[in-house]
Symmetry: C2
Subunit: 115 residues, 2 copies
C-alpha cells in the first residue's frame, strides 16, 4: 500500500511533555499497521526555540533519528548537542528531552516500540 | 544513549534482491536494541539507476518512508511513482521493489518489524 505525501497529515502539539513552543508530528503508520509491535513511527518537526519536554518511557522504548537541524538532547540527565545523523536511543524506564537550539527547524524520525 | 553520526557506518550492497547497481544501508539500531520486535531500522541511499529488487516479506513487514529523490515502487505488481514524503507499506506475505529513476540519490527510512 502506498500513502502519498499529501494524505499524511501533521498534528501540532503545544508544550509537548511540558516543553516549549510547538512540535508537528506526522504519523507514518496507523495503529493497526504496527501489528502490536509499537505505537509511533513519525516525522517530527520542532520549531526553533521549541522543545519536547523531559519524559520517561514506561512499557516502551523510543529512538530519535535526527534528519535536519541541531539541538540539545537530555539523555537521562546528561545534556549533549545533537545534529543530523545522530541517534538518541531511550530504553524502557529511561527519560529524554530534545530542544531545538538552532535557527532552522529540527526534524527527526521518532519510533516507539513496545518493550 | 546517543550514537553520534560519525560512528554509524553504512554497508553497501550490490544488486540487492536482484536489483541494479548499489544501495547503502545505515542501520540505526543493533539487533538487541529492537527488544525482539524487529530487525531493521535504517537510512538507505539508492544511487541513480540503482534499485532494490522485488522481494516478498515472510514473517515480517516493512515500511519505506521516502526522504529525498524520486523513483518507481512496485507494490505487489502495481508500479507507482514515489517521491519525498511518500510511504510504502508492505505487509507480511506481500512483495515490493524500489527503483531510483531520478538524477539524484533516492533516500529512505526502512523499518522491518516482525509480524
Amino acid at each position: 500500500m502506498i500513502k502519498k505525501a499529501d494524505i499524511l497529515q501533521s498534528v501540532t502539539f503545544q508544550n509537548r511533555f511540558g516543553g516549549q513552543g510547538e512540535i508537528a508530528v506526522k504519523q507514518l503508520l496507523s495503529g493497526d499497521e504496527f501489528c502490536g509491535k509499537g505505537r509511533l513511527f513519525a516525522h517530527n518537526v520542532i520549531s526553533p526555540g521549541s522543545s519536547i519536554g523531559l519524559h520517561q518511557h514506561q512499557g516502551d522504548f523510543e529512538t530519535y533519528y535526527i534528519l535536519k537541524g541541531e539541538g540539545i538532547a537530555d539523555d537521562n540527565g546528561v545534556k549533549t548537542p545533537i545534529k543530523a545523523g545522530d541517534v538518541l536511543y531511550t530504553k524502557n524506564g529511561e527519560s529524554h528531552s530534545l530542544e531545538n537550539t538552532g535557527s532552522e527547524n529540527l526534524e527527526l524520525i521518532a519510533l516507539v516500540l513496545f518493550a
